[in-house]
């Protein structure tokens, strides 16, 4: 940990201010906590990715011949749980959000720095329990824990449920911290309407985290209690209702997907603006859209249950609301496109990722329209069509946005530039690998291949082979940034405060920043994304 970067000899920054493991494990600096999270989630990304590779290798052939059926069921369960709870949900908020939100509003840290550290420790406790669960065989309930399978059959349910229960509190505390920070710690002149859209996105996400995650915690607790004490909450033989679980679970897990995607949308807004050298088109609508998505996202959960045994009329209500929540997302795509109009566009690595995000998120979002259509949903739900849909959004959208943000803010975080050639190459490999992996799955789904199948009917093989080929290409694409970003920490070109010429308070401090970000509290006198009159290099302060 000590020699994490070769620091600029004269200048003190948050990385070289103090060395030693204690200075990292007991830090309250939001930037160091962000890096702690970066290490943790990257570790879990590769674990979850490894499970995915095994899944795709098994699916090369129709027969179940690589692993046993139970093992396969554990692989897809652990892939889902690890990726959702230990990578996707924390990725942008806990890494990029932690690092940048205080700087973007001119604050020296989050509102509750020690709670921030506690969030990371809760994540790590959950992580240890999850690792224990994996090492003792892994759960095999599917990431969705449906009852009565999870309460009466399945294995390792308590371990998995407990780990997610704990890591949920990490998410809740981060959300709480962000809400208070944005309300109370904005520098003078940083009004709500001047906030970068990345801050708006994390704010909306934080609301969902605080309101939704407790429901998941309670639901998982009920599953554990039923499993241990046979309470009869979900078991029909004891008077319970298995559908109750689904309502409770999806009440959180649908908003959870917006926790995953909204911060990514915030990243894309920052990048599209910077690399078009233009203010974001329709700022007010963009800010309102993330709030609308957060609110409407709580109203659509039963679109996961159209064939579960709910009434036709309930189905109608949730289908209608699902179409409503699609509108603000569509608005965002149109506004990003319009931002590029008459811009001055550079094809830097972050911008390539942003292009990829817009394209793949559009495709994923459009297939959401297919799924929200009741009559069509009946045929494609529980098939690979759904798998493709959510991977387009989560991997094609969210992971790409995360990588975009990592590259965009890498100079600020590390003080170094990554090698541009490798950055662009990795972005393109990821784009190609991703599409080859997941596009065939739409076709597989409509053809009728169900999800979570260890063995499958032979006519589905060719599309599965294409998908596995794509997955190996994608794996290479993901390994590259790991390697060159690490390389750049020692050998990368030294970055100045604002290598991209972007507008934003975070670009008006040193790269890397000092522990308290700014020498004095800045005073903001410009609108967000004011590329017409970019503010001075020096942060203006009150004199």
């Amino acid at each position: 940990m000590a020699a994490i970067a070769a620091p600029i000899p004269e200048r003190e920054n948050y990385l070289n201010k103090e060395y030693g493991i204690k200075s990292w494990l007991l830090t309250t600096d939001h930037k160091r906590i962000a890096l702690l999270y970066l290490l943790s989630i990257t570790f879990f990304f590769f674990i979850g990715g490894f499970f995915a590779l095994l899944i795709r290798l098994e699916l090369l052939t129709p027969a179940g011949d690589l692993v046993q059926a139970d093992t396969y069921n554990k692989l897809f369960t652990m892939h889902g749980q690890v990726m959702v709870f230990f990578f996707l949900i924390p990725a942008v908020p806990a890494v990029l959000g932690n690092f940048l939100v205080p700087m973007m509003i001119g604050a020296r840290d989050l509102a509750f720095p020690r709670v921030n550290l506690l969030s990371w420790y809760l994540y790590m406790i959950g992580a240890v329990i999850m690792l224990y669960t994996i090492l003792t065989g892994g759960a095999d309930t599917g990431w969705t824990f449906y009852t009565p399978l999870s309460t009466q059959f399945a294995t390792n349910v308590i371990g998995a449920a407990l780990s997610i229960f704990v890591v949920g509190f990490s998410s809740i505390l981060t959300g709480l911290n962000f809400i208070v920070t944005v309300h109370r710690m904005r520098a003078p002149g940083m009004t709500w309407s001047r906030l970068p859209l990345f801050v708006w996105a994390n704010y909306a996400t934080a609301i969902i985290q605080v309101l939704g995650t407790p429901v998941l915690a309670i639901t998982l607790m009920l599953v554990a209690l039923e499993r241990i004490f046979k309470l009869g909450i979900f078991d029909p033989r004891l008077g319970g209702d298995p559908l109750l679980f689904q309502h409770l679970f999806w009440f959180y897990s649908h908003p959870a997907v917006y926790i995953m995607i909204l911060p990514g949308m915030g990243v894309v807004s920052e990048i599209v603006s910077c690399f078009s050298r233009k203010r974001v088109f329709g700022y007010k609508f963009m800010a309102l859209a993330v709030i609308a998505i957060a609110v409407l996202g709580f109203l659509v959960w039963a679109h996961h249950m159209f064939v579960a045994g709910i009434s036709l009329y309930a189905g109608m209500v949730f289908s209608f609301l699902s179409y409503l929540v699609a509108i603000p997302s569509a608005i965002k795509v149109f506004n990003w496109t319009a931002t590029m109009y008459k811009g001055s566009i550079s094809y830097s690595t972050p911008m390539l990722y942003a292009f990829g995000f817009i394209g793949l998120f559009t495709m994923g979002g459009l297939t959401g329209l297919f799924l929200a259509a009741l009559g069509l949903n009946v045929h494609v739900t529980d098939t690979y069509f759904v798998v493709a849909h959510f991977h387009y959004i989560m991997v094609g959208g969210m992971v790409i946005a995360y990588l975009a943000g990592i590259h965009f803010w890498w100079p600020k975080i590390s003080g170094r530039m990554y090698p541009e050639f490798w950055g662009k190459l990795a972005a393109m490999i990821i784009f190609v690998g991703f599409n080859l992996t997941f596009f065939p799955q739409f076709v597989l789904g409509y053809m009728g291949m169900p999800r979570r199948y260890w063995q499958y009917s032979p006519e589905f093989q060719i599309l599965n082979v294409l998908s596995t080929a794509g997955a190996t290409i994608l794996a290479v694409g993901y390994l590259l940034p790991m390697l060159y970003l690490l390389w750049s920490m020692r050998y990368g070109k030294i970055a100045d405060e604002n290598p991209w010429g972007a507008v934003g308070l975070e670009w008006m401090t040193t790269s890397p920043p000092t522990t308290y970000n700014f020498d004095e509290t800045p005073v903001v006198t410009w609108e967000a994304y004011d590329y017409e009159h970019p503010p001075l290099r020096e942060v203006p302060v009150e004199r």
Binding site: L149, S276, G343, S346, A372, V443, Y446, G448, R452, S457
Partner: protein, 331 residues
């Protein structure tokens, strides 16, 4: 059209074409939207690429554009919503008079009971050109009955019946998949639906089923479990006369009125205290654990058969609607 393109399964039911039509519409719409957005982005990225001396033009926004691209998509989405709802209601409202097949799903197989008495495991024979209604329950966890060629899917739950229906249009053999993850051999819980010409189907029906129709089996269980002791065919029983009950409204002790459907009959056997008929005492014992899912299906089929007393049946009492039954038990 395009039956041989590996883009969709065979269309073998009346519903399939409707579902595919909506799908194709959405494909075209999405294709158009992707083309529009991607080409605009490409054109902008090329036309407005960074060049020395050329500044970006700062455009704040346009309310007119925002409203346009809010309300036009909203309109299109509402059209899709309505279309999808119509197809959903069609696909999930079984017509009257459909032939009925009881299904019990268990880890990891499908068990079918035809009304005529045939039992099948993992293979389901149905006639072409007839409405078929599946009355399904699970013995353990949630499963899902999925026939891609029919575009039909319905989760199968423990503790209650769920229903799916279809009208097969093409003879052939089609995949049946379990579509709700149910444990170790979820991917092995597969089978076939064999759609037969009517004549062949009749022949197949008469060839199997040794033990009589499902309702006859149910009658046997009704007697052997002692149900007929209280549920007599006259007005003297401690329990309601079940003749003509099925499908009719029932007035309960607490004032509610419910319809005596399959779930009502099943619940009354397993949890009789849940809905006590008006004028009767809650003294029926539960048969939970004493009767299997298949036996329950047979009992339900039997009670259903009492709705229409067979022509010329001797001694069948007058079918008074149960709501007007007066209490007859005396303390």
């Amino acid at each position: 059209m395009f039956e041989n393109l590996p883009l969709w399964p065979a269309r073998a039911s009346t519903l399939a074409g409707n579902v595919d039509a909506l799908y194709i519409f959405l494909l075209i719409l999405s294709g158009f939207m992707c083309l529009a957005i991607f080409s605009m982005i490409t054109v902008f990225a090329v036309r407005y690429r960074r060049r020395a001396g050329v500044e970006a033009e700062q455009i704040e926004g346009s309310n007119a554009l925002e409203f346009t691209w809010t309300f036009i998509p909203l309109g299109i989405f509402l059209v899709i919503f309505v279309w999808g709802t119509i197809v959903y209601f069609q696909g999930r409202t079984p017509p009257q008079g459909a032939a009925e097949i009881y299904t019990v799903a268990k880890q990891w197989m499908w068990k079918f009971q035809h009304i005529e008495g045939q039992r099948e495991i993992n293979e389901l024979h149905v006639p072409v050109g007839r409405d078929v209604r599946m009355i399904m329950t699970s013995q353990d966890v949630i499963h899902s009955f999925y026939v891609p060629a029919f575009r039909v899917k319905q989760d199968v739950l423990p503790g209650r019946y769920t229903v799916a229906w279809f009208h097969a249009t093409k003879p052939g053999t089609y995949h049946l998949f379990c579509a709700e993850y149910c444990g170790t051999m979820h991917s092995g819980m597969v089978g076939s639906v064999v759609v037969m010409e009517p004549a062949q189907y009749e022949a197949w029906l008469s060839g199997g089923g040794a033990s009589g129709s499902l309702a006859e089996t149910g009658q046997g269980i009704f007697q052997s479990l002692g149900c007929s002791t209280c549920h007599r065919m006259d007005t003297q029983g401690r329990g309601p006369n079940l003749t003509g009950v099925f499908g009719k409204p029932v007035l309960l002790e607490d004032g509610r009125t419910v319809t005596a459907d399959e779930n009502y009959v099943r619940e009354s056997i397993l949890n009789p205290g849940a809905k006590v008929v008006s004028g009767f005492k809650p003294i029926m014992p539960t048969f939970q654990g004493l009767v299997s899912e298949e036996q329950l299906n047979a009992l339900v089929a039997y009670v259903k058969s009492l709705a229409q007393p067979p022509a010329g049946a001797a001694g069948t009492p007058n079918l008074k609607p149960p709501t007007s039954q007066t209490p007859k038990t005396t303390k």
